[in-house]
Structure formats: C-alpha cells, structure tokens
Symmetry: C2
Subunit: 305 residues, 2 copies
C-alpha cells in the first residue's frame, strides 16, 4: 500500500486551505438557499440544522468530482447544496426521540430539542422535498438528461434502498450482540456510504462522465465511505465531546456492535488506512486534477472530528 500511497499523494496540496475555501462557498450558498417566511418556525427549524456547521464533506466531494470531470463549480453547486439538505434531513430524523434520541449534534442541541418533535419531523421532510426543488430550479448549464440522472441517483439513495433502509437495519440491530459483519456492512453502506458515493457520483453525472470514470469514482467513494464509518466508530471510543460536538461513548453504552468492537481499535485504524490507500489508487490515472479527492481520502483517515 505504501507505494500506491506515495504515487498518488502530493504533499504540496494545501488541503486545509482548500477545504476552508470550499466550506465558505458552500456556507454562503446554503445561507441563501432558505429564507424565513410564514410559518416562520418551520423555516427557522430547517435553517437551524442546515446552517449548524459540520464538515460539508458531501458537497465538497460533489464539487471536487464535478471539477475532476471537467465541470465547473457553478454547474455543481446546486447539487452540492441539495446533498447537504438531504444529509441534514437524515440527521434531524435520526436524532428524534423515536430513533437514536440524541440531545446534541454538531455541538448544538438537536432540532427536536429546540423546536419540538413535530416541527423537527416536518423540518426534515421539508428539507428532503426542497432538495429536489432546489436541484431543478438552481441547476444551470446542465442538460435535462444529466440532471435527471442526478435526481434518480439522489432519490434512490434517500429511499428505502439507501439511507432509510440503513437506518431501519440499524434500529433493528440495536441491543443485539450477535450482529455479523454482513449486517454491519449493510447498515453502513446504506446509512453513510450511499450518500457519500452519491455525492461523488453526482458531480460526475452532471458532466455526463463516461461509465468507466463513474465506475472508478464509485470504487473510490465506496472505499472512503467505509473508511469514514470505521473512523467514526473509532472516534466514538477515543474522541472527546468537544472534538465530536456530540456525546462520545454512545455506541459502547448501548453495547452497539461496531467495527472496533469486532476488530479492535488498532486493526480498525489499519483497515481504514488500507481502504483510503485503495481509494486513492483508483484516482491514479487522473493526474493533477485528482489532488483534492486524493487529499480528502487522506483527511478521512486522519480526522479527529
């Protein structure tokens, strides 16, 4: 793996600067995406969670992938925002009392803690539906056919075949001690991996990328998606409340089966690094243009929040 890693990592790329510049662009777009009107509490609740910070990893991946395929930021920004709306919808619903019952998210009270359960459910619903409207209204310089492929990919990912199915499998496995690796993989490929993969692929789909490019980006995205989840599980054990912006130790408290609970922390870290190296190897042929996606893969393995 070390050879692949060396071959594809450019140590001169300023990832920190890149991520912070991209985040600023995305924050500015998201800020403008929803204005408050009657009934105000609903729009405020949607804005509360959508603008609560976070890594903005999904929109960043979408923008990077679009540029890798020769597209522009302008083409991809509405899709990038729609991905973040979909992600925020899933966080709001996952945190609900009837689901994971979380009080904190991104260092702030969860949506239902501030606005009540009924508004939180509806704010999530509103964000999911609005993501599709935003995509259609805001996307420019993309053919209708390419946009439809993005809508198809995103809706499939948000449905029972993606995040929603992953969340149900996760809920069902709660408290069970005998979850096998197959079930754990199902949960994570659906609950986390699917939207990360769609983030990468949608950027490419907007440009009408070829099947072979889509295939390589898909492998890249699946590897970083799984690495992301493994690191998430490890951070739940090793991270602090301040770093995570949410309560750590939650998995252990509910005796949840996770990658580190199956493999141990060290082996989990090794596996996530291996996945990141494999992901980067898929991008070897793209040259200089792949630098952001390669650096993001490294960042996923090394992140502490």
């Amino acid at each position: 793996m070390s050879q692949i890693s060396q071959a594809t990592t450019d140590t001169n790329f300023d990832l920190k600067g890149y991520l912070s510049q991209r985040r600023a662009l995305i924050e500015a777009e998201l800020e403008q995406s929803i204005s408050v009107t009657y009934p105000e509490i609903l729009y405020e609740s949607m804005r509360y969670s959508l603008l609560a910070g976070g890594k903005r990893l999904r929109p960043i991946l979408c923008l990077a992938s679009c540029e890798l395929c020769g597209g522009t930021l302008e083409m991809a920004m509405p899709t990038a925002c729609a991905l973040e709306m979909c992600h925020t919808f899933s966080l709001i619903h996952d945190d609900l009392p009837a689901m994971d019952n979380d009080d904190y998210r991104r260092g702030q009270l969860t949506n239902h803690k501030v606005y009540g359960e009924n508004i939180a459910i509806l704010a999530g619903d509103g964000l999911l539906a609005y993501a599709f409207e935003f995509l259609v209204v805001q996307t420019k310089k993309v053919s209708a056919e390419h946009l439809l492929r993005v809508i198809l990919k995103l809706s499939h990912t948000m449905a029972a075949t993606g995040l929603v199915g992953g969340q149900v499998a996760d809920l069902q496995s709660e408290g069970l001690q005998n979850i096998d690796i197959k079930t754990l993989d199902f949960i994570h490929t659906h609950k986390t991996g699917a939207l990360l993969e769609t983030s990468v692929l949608s950027g490419a789909l907007l440009t009408g990328a070829s099947d072979s490019i889509l295939q390589r980006l898909s492998v890249y995205a699946r590897h970083i998606g799984l690495a992301f989840q493994i690191v998430d599980d490890v951070l739940d054990i090793t991270g602090t409340q301040e770093e995570l912006g949410k309560t750590p130790g939650k998995d252990q408290k509910v005796q949840k089966v996770t990658y580190p609970s199956l493999w141990g922390i060290e082996e989990s870290k090794r596996k996530s690094q291996e996945l990141v190296d494999l992901a980067k190897a898929e991008l070897a042929g793209f040259g200089h243009k792949a630098q952001p996606l390669i650096a993001i893969a490294d960042y996923i393995a090394a992140r502490t929040q």
Copy 2:
C-alpha cells in the same frame, strides 16, 4: 350557477364505472411498485399504507388531466403513482403521535400503531424519496424537460412551501379559537389544495400543455381543492366512522376552527357547491374530453367519505 352547471354536466357519463376502472388500474400499478426486501419491516410498512385503499383521487386527477391534454395513460401512470406515494407519506406523518395522533386511517390502524413510531417516520420518508425515483425510472414517452417540470412542481408541493408548511400552520392553530379565514385558507390551500392542484397540473405538464391550459386547470383544481376540504370538514361533523374509515367528530372535540365552524353546515355546503360549479365552468371549452374532470368535480361536492 345552475346554468353553468347544466352547460357542463353530461348526465350520461358513468362516473362510478370510470372511477372504479381507474382505481383498479392504479391499484395494480401501486401493488407492483414496491416489493419486499431486507429490511422487510420497512417495505411492509410502506406497502401497508400505500395499499390501504382510499379514493385514489390524486392519481385519477393526474390521469384525467393528461388525457384531457392529449396524453396517454401510459405517460401519466408513473406520475399518478408518485402522487399517491407523496399523499401516503403525508398521511403517515400527519397521523404520528407527535402530530395529530390518530389511531385509524382508511378504516385500518394507522402506520405507527402497527409498526411503531420509528418505522412509520422512516416509511413516510422512504415513500417521499421513492416517489421521485419512481417518476424518473418509470416515466416513458415524456421529454426530459417536461419530466423536470413535473418534478419541480411536485417537490415544491411537498416542501415547506406546500404540504409541510400547511401542516405546521395547522399544528400551530390547534386549540386556538381566534383563527381567521385567511389562516384557515392558508392551511387548506397548502395541506390539501396544493397536492390536488399538482395532481391536475402534473398530468398536463407531462404533455407540454400551454400556459393558458395550465392556467384554466389550475383554477379548476384550486376550486375543487377548497370544495374538497369544506366537504371534509362537514363530513367530520355529519359522517359516521364506517363511512369515513376514521374517527368522526375529531375537529369538534379539539375545538378546531373549520369551515362549518365559521359558516355553519348549510352555508358550507352551499359554498362547496358554488366552488364546484366555478371549477366546472373553467372546463367548458374543452368539450367531451373534459367529462371525467367535470364529473369528478360533482363527485367531490356529493361525496360521503
């Protein structure tokens, strides 16, 4: 009004036969739209509510409007099913304990009563997302541009600007005695009217109908939408549990402001008939082809369930 009414009603049109034939077509499509796979409980829960009967008014309106504009059933059926998925999503979420807390819907236990609150929330989410996927995958012989217009209209209707906003306004008005007609109209144009209008318009949008046709269909749809809601409110007072398939008298029990509570039953009935007559007048120029939509307008005023 009676002159308009006579001019546009063809008493020979067999509405009962028409509705039952259309319902059978739609039921068959919906039955095939979702198959059960892992995690089974989620798909079963989605199917439970989607296949629980009901009038199928929204898909029927979509099919009728598409045919009125020269389109085919084949073109409109995926949109018709997507509309019913969206409608079912909204029913599942509206019935939740955190919302209207209803135990019965369409004569059956509500989704959360059978599958639990967490699965019901996710089944709703899944149906909403799947509606868009189904639209894109299943729609044939419609241009990408026309399909995007349908997606735009539907997503706008399902977001805070439509059903979700209407439900929040409804929740906020609960228990308040001083709700004015403006607020009541906002609630119903958003909560009920918007999706009925979108059902009518989407059928026309699929065919690339002209703005002037869309405008007339929009007026038709708004009138029948409001009439539908007024009749709904009246039936909550005059209907039986058997007829309605849900608990009657609920509005009065929670002292909800409704059209009959503002206007009385007789005046409400008169208003709904007036709206139906106005709706039918919009279709006067379409001739024979408008028969189904005209008969449906009459059916809305006369319905007992």
